[in-house]
């Protein structure tokens, strides 16, 4: 079962929601759709499901054109951001409902419902009504309903956003494990780069209705095709600093110089945009050739056990992603260490020309 989208576009009221997307999802694969709100994730999923028809282009299943086939005649499941269950059916009946509609035998239904419920650890709640359960259990019920039938495609539309952090991590891992043994196509939409990284599989980065890049998640993360992809696939967004490469050294914004190292030597002299991930800049040097930068603090944003430190020097702004809680006051003078070995270089058109080596990514 492979799903192919060929030059698929969707235009609604003159606005392009999906712009010429080409994508092939392999059977048994786990695919993440990564993009901000309004990037077209849900629209693309609705097209994959057959809930909407593309304005242009074709959708193929196993090489067969299914563009006009309505959702009722396809075999798919979908899990939503909201916890969608039949309100006055018990958890058991909720999970059984797709099987009953498929006219399966009672014994088979019972076996499958119990098996799926056990897998999602809601087997002790089978007699309850959805509203008597916690949010996490309600979403598990909705997931069980999606997983219980043998769908060819299972779509998850930001299923974990309405859950608390701990529960999210737990369910995310279970979900991944559940799909290891299946031969269906899983598609998972999320706005969070970290969630994409945690899920693995493949990632498709969407931006303003366009598919920027698709490939194995780690590869897309480590070798983003261009600046926008790199920005979309990092939280906080990757720092971008304009710079110039000469025969011997790199200059950032006419102010900061450092010797051209072995990594960057292949770059031809000229103007580049340099990207460095927020988590790669440190408060202490990690390597001998880390660049020391005096900066002033704009804001220390503490989020849980992490700190996003916003700083600037006279020429550019930087964001640091630090683990642990660090408190700074505004305008405090500090030094940060800029890793010259972990730089991405993009040409003036924004295309990737150099990615740091040795960071995984194949």
């Amino acid at each position: 079962m492979s799903l192919t989208l060929k030059n698929v576009s969707r235009v609604v009221d003159g606005e392009t929601w999906i712009d010429d997307v080409n994508l092939t999802l392999e059977p048994g694969s786990f695919n993440v759709l990564l993009g901000r709100t309004l990037s077209g994730k849900t629209t693309l999923m609705r097209l994959m499901a057959g809930l909407d028809r593309p304005t242009k282009g074709q959708i193929m299943m196993n090489g067969v054109d299914v563009t006009g086939v309505p959702v009722r005649e396809r075999n798919i499941s979908m899990v939503y951001q909201q916890f969608i269950n039949y309100p006055n059916m018990t958890v058991y009946d909720n999970i059984a409902s797709p099987l009953r509609l498929a006219k399966m035998s009672h014994a088979e239904i019972d076996r499958r419902v119990r098996e799926t419920a056990e897998m999602l650890r809601i087997d002790i709640f089978l007699d309850r009504l959805p509203l008597q359960l916690s949010g996490g259990q309600q979403q598990r019920t909705a997931m069980a309903r999606a997983l219980v039938k043998d769908s060819q495609i299972i779509l998850f539309d930001e299923p974990l956003v309405n859950l608390d952090y701990k529960l999210r991590e737990e369910l995310r891992q279970e979900l991944r494990a559940l799909f290891k043994a299946r031969n269906c196509i899983a598609v998972y939409a999320t706005t969070e780069p970290n969630e994409a990284l945690a899920l693995g599989g493949n990632t498709a980065v969407l931006h303003e209705g366009k598919l920027l890049q698709f490939g194995p998640t780690a590869e897309v993360y480590h070798r983003p095709k261009d600046i926008i992809t790199a920005e979309m696939f990092s939280e906080p967004p990757i720092n971008v600093v304009p710079g110039r490469v000469s025969e011997t050294e790199v200059t950032f914004d006419e102010s900061v110089h450092f010797q051209l190292n072995s990594d960057l030597r292949p770059l031809k002299p000229g103007n580049y945009q340099f990207g460095v991930r927020a988590s790669h800049i440190g408060l202490v040097p990690h390597a001998d050739d880390d660049l020391e930068l005096p900066v002033r603090v704009d804001l220390a944003e503490i989020s849980g056990s992490e700190t996003f430190l916003h700083v600037h020097n006279p020429h550019f702004d930087l964001v640091l992603h630090l683990s642990g809680v660090h408190e700074y006051h505004v305008d405090q003078q500090i030094k940060v260490y800029f890793p010259t070995h972990k730089l991405y270089a993009f040409d003036e058109g924004g295309q990737l020309v150099h990615a740091p080596a040795g960071l995984g990514g194949r």
Binding site: A49, L51, V71, R72, I76, S77, M78, Y80, Q82, I84, Y86, P87, N88, M89, S97, P98, L101, A102, L129, R145
Partner: protein
Amino acid sequence: MTKVENNKAWWLVLPVFLIVAFSAIIPLMTVVNYSVQDIFDPYTRYFVGTEWFKQVMTDSRLHDALLRQFLFSFTILLIEIPLGIAVALMMPTKGRGASLSLILVAIPLLIPWNVVGTIWQIFGRADIGLFGAMMAKLGINYNYASEPLHAWLTVVLMDVWHWTPLVALLCYSGLRAIPEVYYQAARIDKASRWAVFRYIQLPKLTNVLIIGVLLRFMDSFMIYTEPFVLTGGGPGTSTTFLSQSLVQQAIGQFDLGPAAAFSLVYFLIILLVCWVFYTTIMHMQKDK
């Protein structure tokens, strides 16, 4: 720890207390007062205990009116609730059609009771009324002034025409509150139109339906103006409902004592039936 008396709080409760006293408690107590006395004139009155209540309980005229009243209320509930749901389901959900249909459906609600009565009184006349003339053309001798059944049908029709829109609007708002994803999920599950109604829409409508049933029951149980305008409760006593009997007794015959006793019984019946409705629906919801 010593208890601190804070008498200022009483001042905050006082306005509500006064409003409730003047709007509910004092009138009710006046009625209670009347119901246990025989009053000849403002200075001549005798305490009669439960005599009026005994009289009310054995008055066959009132029993007939009560039966008629129940029959009427249940008939219109049986028609208006399903019909209201059906109308709400058929109303368009977006675009200009939605606002247009809302206005059209709401129009009957804006018309006063006595006008509704008059409209149908004329509408049903065989000589000048559209409906009456049409029935006559069809060979049906439709005459609400002489046929009890026809009078009944007209009153029921009138009420259905007047109040189904209320149920429809309540249900419409209830339906709009169901997120679109529920329908989408149902489509993915390959659920039939009936299953969508039975397992998504109806459960989500329970709360507005409770309000609809209670409102329609209470209101129809107190129906007065429409049959009064149409036939004055006739022909005979066939459309004389409880409130009209009460008015006849209290104002027509000036029997204040029995009328007061009757009012109290009337009030208790409404209270009791509403309570039964409410608890039954709540139980049904819980059991499922």
